[in-house]
Symmetry: C2
Subunit: 315 residues, 2 copies
């Protein structure tokens, strides 16, 4: 392993571009800055360079840059195919451009993979060797650690776990296919179910003429609204079916949930637990299995980007 | 890496117990023997010892023993929980007993994992780093190689890919759950579909009063029987849906099919290919993806057991 001094990490988020510098032997960043992402404005790469330069350590050597971005992205070539957070990038050779500018190696991977990597290295998954991380928010994303290594796949497209068919001809997913886990258990899936039921005349405190967000639905559920409760319960049931599939595939020792919808507590996880237990084909999958929440919150992108760079430098 | 001389491999198959000795630097075994398995007879371990002793090299050092058996088995502890091929074994500490008797390390894993490992090391998957192996026969089993390592999981229960729910509340699977890939695309699934349709009065050259095997159905299909053709076509369609899920999860560079039903050619694979292309969420998953048949046939158990022992010795 090369001696490491400083890692620069970058998170291309939906609202903010963030950069931080980390000393290898400490958890807290030594420098940090964020600016608005401005997804649709031109010159995104210049804005990125600027925010990185603003946190660049003056008197110390930086060893590598790690970047987290929503994908699809090819971590093997460092090319960002497209990303919702920077509209002008199409097949953009991000790591090559960063290396050209800063003269040091750079790596990139998608945000869900890196949130999983961050939780394994710095968060809820510390000490585990086989980790399943799922983010449940607008969509459902996955990050998988197998024997202390990030699962990336031959094209860098592994762990797209939200796009796993669990019901052929089920509801339409954001990706255009049907019956994916994401179409049932994401915020979007919960909203779709409620809208369908309201359109069909179902009674609820929710207003059928407005868009009801997953958050509004969870608030209605907490007030006892039967439709809202059912919407979360169904999402949890299908989440259990999906996670059972992933236990059968990866057999992790911990499942970590991140993302806004996963903050819904028993509303989502009561039915999830029933369904997971029903669906596993052997109780041994559940022996010692930890099911828990992500610990790193907003920092998971930066810490994942940092962990990626550290992992690659160690190779 | 320790210097390796001889590996002894054992395959606990449904009809035969087989043992072979391999010299590290050559593909062909230097000794081989098989005897009937006799699944229901007592003293299975003594029979196993005997067949191993019969092929034990006289003047050379054996480094390790590898064993392939249908599971569930825990490769981390070497305990065979149950196996259909030796009925008297329940939580049987197989590798511990072998080490006690022969004085050298022993490892075990299930037959599908080891067939995948064998194809990666000696067969159709040579040179690939990320391999998805699927056996399609009475059931559907999986073996996965990720970055040149066998995916085993925290309890050793990973890659149970036949038991992946693709249709909630779908047909009953052999495991007792519903809507698994195996319930659609295995020989058993094909037979179930035909039996249901015949019972419902569907016309066919197949006899509604008899059990029609997957093989008999494939013969009927080759003669143009519409029901038989449809049965294979549906199995292939669902196989495509399942494999798309696995591409999204593992993103391999090769998919290798073993098992009797996978010998059905276009009968199964025409609809498989259509369905796989329809279901992948990004065409990049298919870039350079090799889809092919297993090469090792009956030897895959022995060669996988050998590869397992070699892999573990290298650690």
């Amino acid at each position: 392993m090369a001696f490491m001094s400083i890692i620069v990490a970058v998170d291309i988020g939906g609202t903010h571009l963030r950069a931080a510098a980390y000393n290898h032997n400490q958890f807290q960043h030594i420098a940090y800055k964020r600016v608005e992402t401005k997804a649709s404005e031109p010159n995104a790469f210049s804005r990125l360079i600027k925010v990185i330069e603003d946190i660049w350590p003056q008197n110390e050597k930086v060893d590598a840059i790690g970047v987290s971005t929503p994908g699809p992205v090819d971590p093997h070539t460092g090319i960002v195919m497209v990303t919702p957070n920077i509209k002008e990038w199409h097949d953009f050779p991000l790591t090559e451009k960063l290396t050209e500018h800063f003269g040091i190696p750079a790596w990139v991977d998608n945000d869900a993979n890196l949130a999983g990597l961050a939780e394994w290295k710095f968060g809820a998954g510390r000490g585990h060797h086989n980790v399943l991380y799922l983010t449940v928010s607008t969509g459902v994303g996955g990050g998988v650690i197998i024997e202390d290594r990030l699962l990336q796949g031959s094209h860098g497209l592994a762990a797209e776990l939200g796009h796993s068919t669990i019901q052929v001809d089920g509801p339409l997913c954001g990706c255009g296919k049907r019956g994916h886990l994401e179409s049932f258990s994401s915020g979007t899936g919960i909203e779709r179910f409620v809208a369908e039921q309201l359109n069909a005349g179902r009674e609820s405190v929710l207003n059928p003429t407005k868009k009801n967000s997953a958050y509004m639905i969870s608030e209605a559920a907490k007030q006892g609204d039967a439709l809202a409760i059912e919407a979360y319960s169904i999402a949890g049931k299908y989440l259990g079916i999906g996670v059972a599939n992933f236990l059968h595939a990866f057999d992790p020792s911990i499942v970590i949930f991140g993302g806004g919808v996963s903050q819904s507590g028993p509303l989502l996880f009561d039915s999830f637990e029933v369904s997971l237990k029903e669906q596993v084909i052997h109780p041994r999958y559940l022996d010692g299995l930890v099911i828990t929440k992500a610990e790193l919150g907003d920092d998971s992108g930066l810490l994942g980007a940092r962990a990626l760079a550290e992992l690659k430098l160690q190779k």
